[in-house]
Symmetry: C2
Subunit: 121 residues, 2 copies
Amino acid sequence: MVELNAPQLDTVFHALGDATRRHMLHALAGGERTVGQLAEPFAISLAAASKHIKALENAGLIRREIRGRTHVCRLDPGPLASAHHWLSFYERFWTGRLDVLEMLLRAEDAGRSPTPEGEEQ
Amino acid sequence: MVELNAPQLDTVFHALGDATRRHMLHALAGGERTVGQLAEPFAISLAAASKHIKALENAGLIRREIRGRTHVCRLDPGPLASAHHWLSFYERFWTGRLDVLEMLLRAEDAGRSPTPEGEEQ
DNA sequence: CCTATATTCAACCCTATGGTTGAATTAAAC
DNA sequence: GTTTAATTCAACCATAGGGTTGAATATAGG
């Protein structure tokens, strides 16, 4: 999996922070879609949809292939995998694996100022 | 796990779309931190840091407890779990589980216009 | 009480974002 | 070759975002 650096995570999470774009990704999970097809469900102009698609493309979430006068988009799961992986770091906080949690906290928190003692009990 | 609705996913992903805020979350993975402690690593004003923290709080990613004159923040993993879960929908696209992928595509894509034939080979 | 500390509030600035409309581009269709 | 269709481009508008500074708030400590 490709580890995204900070600026790339910025653009990926930013792209995901919009319901229209998330909906477009979901549509693309069903296979290739043209710009027109992606725009169709929304009550916005094609130009606006085009900007959303460009944001997704910019984040690397989709790839575009120009076939004649239509632009065909397809999902590129790589950045989604990276975002998923980034979030996985915090997985121990919502699973019951408190043993792992504590170990990691000890390790990562070592060498810090007064170091608060509470540590999520 | 709490399923976040669209507006909540908006705020969560938006909050994650900033390196400063992601860094703050990472710090909070090490235990409780005050506003001052969270702000310290960054070359920004305390007011700016306060806004970032408010964005995280607004997204439900952190909780704040006011102890005297200091505000102590701690991670709330719930929304991270929801974001992670949201991304998991796409997991089949980056894992090798093409069998599952194809089944799901067939199911979800049923009843759609010309239905492109390519379907990510 | 007075002072120092921790944090927010308010006003402001600049840039980015998401939307619009109308013109431009490109290719398919006839 | 003219028309129609699929997209983008450019200019514009309003609002949100992230930053600043200076004043306000509230509490801890002498």
